[in-house]
Amino acid sequence: MSTAASWTDTARREARSSLVDVGHLVRFRVGTLPRRTLRGGLVAVLAVTAVSAALPAWAPGAGDPDGRAGDLLLLLGTGLTSFLLLGVLAAVTGGGGRELIARDHAAAYPVGATADHLGALLLAPLTIAWLLQAWLLLGATAYALGPRPLLVSAQVVVVLWLLAATAVAQVVGWSLEAVRRGPHGVRLVRALGLAVVLGVTGLVVTDRLLPLLDASPTTVVVIGLASPPGMRWGLTVAGLLLASLVAVAFGAVPAHLAARRLPADEARAETGIHRARPAPRSDLAALVRLDRASVWRAVPTRRGVLVLAGGPGLVAVLGDLPWESVTVLPGLVASGAALLFGVNAWCLDERGALWRESLPVGPGTVFTARALVLAELLLVGSLATVALAATRAGVPTPGEAAAVAATLTVVMAQVVGASMRWSAAHPYPADLRSARVTPAPPLAMVGYSARLALATTLTGVLFSLLARLPGWHVPLLVAVPMLCWSLARLARQHRAWADPLVRARVVGAVAG
């Protein structure tokens, strides 16, 4: 009889060891955070979760099967499907998921691909997109079912769905990353993306998208969550638990496959030739050129802008959004684009920050160049979204055109101002080579994204209301004081950057 360990024993040992490793890494990461920030962040997230899971049940009309609550219950299946699809998009864009410990730092330790996969799963909910969708689903469920005893059992099902969908999305993310790193992988993944876009467009054109969504298997989950605790509810819970466990375990397989392959995008970027261009004509042009190279040659930035520019634009086209609703999009896209590097804008220089700071150029010029390059990135994403939306929304009225232009201008100034402020106040070292890297730690990113999304959405909603007014004057008149306020704050940051102590702190931090 063979005394060799079976593959199941090996897998079990690997899983146990990876869980222990993840525990150590989490403790290490948590240890680097200020206790108050950590406690405050956790309390805030838990409080909002509890409120969104319970409070809407007592809202007027909640639980009424013949009113809005009934309609919401019917749409809940689509909501659950959307959560899964957006999770897949996030995992694919993020190259499998975020890193619990930076790749270069992890190289010195025996941290395996399973631990990496589990770490990415743990970090997946720490984004404002994930949290917002989760809160929306919990709130919608509470409103749809009303203040009944089965609300708790229903929310248990929703939470299990969130976990299962996140784990499944992670499997898809790792699988596509493994394919992308394989022979002709980048082309294959791009072709697949194009096929998906064309397929969805075809479904919309032929009016088959909604029937397809209605027929999605998530309706079984909705029936399960709306059922009182019993056989059906129990089966739903058991099914979701099983799906979660299987997805968590199975995700390690493509994660190992991806880990064995070289990241194709990064390798291509690092070995490619960038032809020399004529000498720049001014100091500002020279600085902008180098900053632009740092932004547009970074894999996460390029991939992120593509998704941000295309995603909301596609939703606008598919959803046939009118112009007054399009005003909300530039803010969302600009907020998302700022999260690619803008909230920690000085990290672009990485270790080159020390050399750059030794160059004889005024700090004001350096600040202006960085702010311009950030604004350019936000503008490209936002304009692409608006252009896509315009293909379906038709010719805008002067009021609508003015409202969109005003929103674009104001959110640009708001987001650039906030980003440059945070970049100077909380600099972090970040190596933006990999698509799995974010410019700041996960909790900080949640805070930044929440604040940006709130400010820009409110601005978008305001101009959406103003777009309904006759004439084009009002949106522009309202935009002027908002723009002045944001520009004044940006100017204050510009002045603050002249302080050598501020710069030395930032440069020291980002240079690691």
Binding site: A276, G352, P500, A504
Partner: protein, 257 residues
């Protein structure tokens, strides 16, 4: 305040021996203190370095060598003390000082997603290099065996290649004060020789060179004098020859303890 003109050396020096008879002070540091919060990185360093000479800064980790270099390069402001480069107060005339100085930082020093040529173009622009600088730069890149990778992103560079490019960036404008922080770290013999040549060229044209390193033997070979730092303060300045061989190693150790 105007800069003290830095004289040109009458003849080429030999590495490891005192430079031409120039005694003009190019770098003057008096009672320099640098604090980062509760940590005192530099605790009262005073030193001078003269034009046409190469001075090595030696000392253990955390002795304050790199922080002193950063202050001289205008990257980190001094908490207190008087720091002058080419007669200029670094705190008040930072930009003028940065025009005089060429700085190779101790860590990385390169922008990851820019090519060496783009780094050099930025330096050329901001340092107002005149016509013909591109030919000189190409020659410098070839000497450091970086000509073949001039248009590749530096994120794909090895540590040693990065160090070599950092030295090129520090020397490209033929600065009056050359600050090299750990220039030999992980660099192959050809890169070390090219760095020696850069230091020799700088001394020959009368520039002041400061080299911070942990590699005592290389420091002795390329410098004329050695300043030993300990716990944020200078403990001795000696002729480089006294740090040679086993006797030099013993003396160095005694200064560190």
């Amino acid at each position: 305040m105007s800069a003290v003109p830095l004289p040109t050396a009458p003849s080429g020096p030999v590495p490891g021996t005192p430079g031409p008879g120039t005694t003009d002070v190019a770098v003057e540091v008096r009672d320099l203190h640098v604090r980062f919060g509760a940590v005192e990185a530099v605790g009262g360093i005073s030193l001078t370095a003269t034009a046409g000479r190469a001075t090595a800064l030696l000392g253990r980790n955390g002795a304050g060598k790199s922080t002193t270099m950063r202050v001289l390069a205008g990257v980190v402001p001094a908490t207190s003390g008087d720091v002058r480069v080419g007669g200029l107060d670094v705190r008040r005339e930072r930009l003028a000082v940065q025009r005089l100085v060429g700085y190779c930082p101790d860590v990385g020093g390169l922008v990851s997603r820019a090519t060496p040529w783009e780094h050099l173009q930025l330096a050329g622009r901001l340092r107002r290099l005149g016509p013909g600088w591109e030919d000189r730069v190409r020659d410098l890149l070839e000497r450091f065996e970086l000509g073949g990778v001039a248009h590749r992103m530096t994120s794909g560079f090895s540590h040693g290649m990065g160090r070599r490019l950092s030295v090129v960036l520090a020397a490209v404008h033929e600065p009056s004060v050359l600050l090299l922080d750990e220039p030999f770290d992980g660099v192959d013999p050809i890169g070390v020789e090219a760095t020696f040549d850069v230091v020799a060229d700088a001394r020959a044209r009368g520039a002041c060179v400061l080299v911070s390193t942990h590699l005592r033997e290389l420091a002795v070979e390329v410098c004329t004098e050695v300043a030993v730092l300990r716990a944020g303060a200078r403990v001795a300045t000696l002729p480089a020859a006294r740090m040679l061989g086993e006797d030099g190693a013993r003396e160095y150790r005694s200064l560190l303890d």
